[in-house]
Symmetry: C2
Subunit: 152 residues, 2 copies
DNA sequence: ACAACATAGTGAAGCAAATACACAATGATG
DNA sequence: CATCATTGTGTATTTGCTTCACTATGTTGT
């Protein structure tokens, strides 16, 4: 039951951590995707983040202005744009990853490894059930959107 | 590790469920608070939800227009407004509660009771650590903001 | 070759959530 | 009763997000 409460609280805390670092949740998600996937088109980002293409344009405008990402022409498709992380963007991603693991250590420190194993097992179970609850929106042709991890 | 990923995914799913029912996350949170606390002032809501008073005004404007809540004069303090749920608002809260428990059953169904016990124990542990990570913003005079549960 | 259709990104318009600042009305206090 | 604090709201702004319309391109069928 407390699972939902935790979701809200943890989500808030994650967002707070991001904001303290000058990023928003949405922008951090973009950086994270680029970190996980390397340079991709905006279309790919739009599908990975499950937001409208127009929204990606806006997020990238901000991130580009902030010096986190670069847009370059796609080598073969002149309609498309390739988006990649700048050095600053890559550094931000690395910091995200570090904070994220540190956060996990803080939150889960003191939990016995057997309990942790059980916890993770149930977590995966829940994640699995979630997977089955959504794909009405997901196009079958799309790859599995695995790296939808967060930050903070 | 997957904890953060789950937080994001579950948060998304919760929000999706709400939107399908014509509510947004923020407005559902208001309804939930009123459900848990009964009629309160906007100030109280602002503190419970940890958002600015101005934001509460806006959320209540929308909820009042939608017929979910009513604003009435405070019996003793003529500055303050007492906010309460309408019948429709109470019905929405009841539906939230039902869906929320049903969701838990879907997500946690098939988990053995011993695993569930461990899971909840670790969950509480994490929640505890979260509590300790934030109260820089919380005023000491305020009660514990316990009912910060969600919906979906 | 070329018309027809599909796809990639963006402008325009708009909504929701949230913020900060300013302010009027009211309450509380020395 | 003057001063200070509190309550709610107007104005303005930021961010995330959507839909619709549109241009520029790619792709395909005949």
């Amino acid at each position: 039951m407390r699972l939902f409460g935790l979701t809200v609280r943890l989500g808030e805390e994650m967002e707070k951590g991001l904001v303290e670092r000058g990023l928003t949740r949405a922008r951090a998600a973009v950086i994270w995707q680029l970190h996980e996937r390397g340079p991709v088109t905006q279309r790919t980002l739009s599908q990975a983040l499950r937001v409208s293409p127009r929204n990606v344009t806006g997020l990238l405008d901000a991130l580009e202005a902030g010096g986190y990402v670069t847009r370059s022409r796609h080598p073969t498709d002149r309609r498309a744009t390739l988006v990649g992380l700048t050095d600053q963007g890559a550094a931000a991603a690395a910091r995200l990853r570090a904070d994220y693991e540190m956060g996990a250590q803080v939150l889960l420190g003191g939990v016995s490894s057997t309990d942790l194993a059980t916890f993770v097992r149930v977590l995966d179970h829940v994640l699995d059930r979630l997977q089955g609850a959504s794909p009405a929106t997901t196009s079958p042709a799309t790859e599995g959107v695995s790296g939808r991890s967060p930050a903070g």
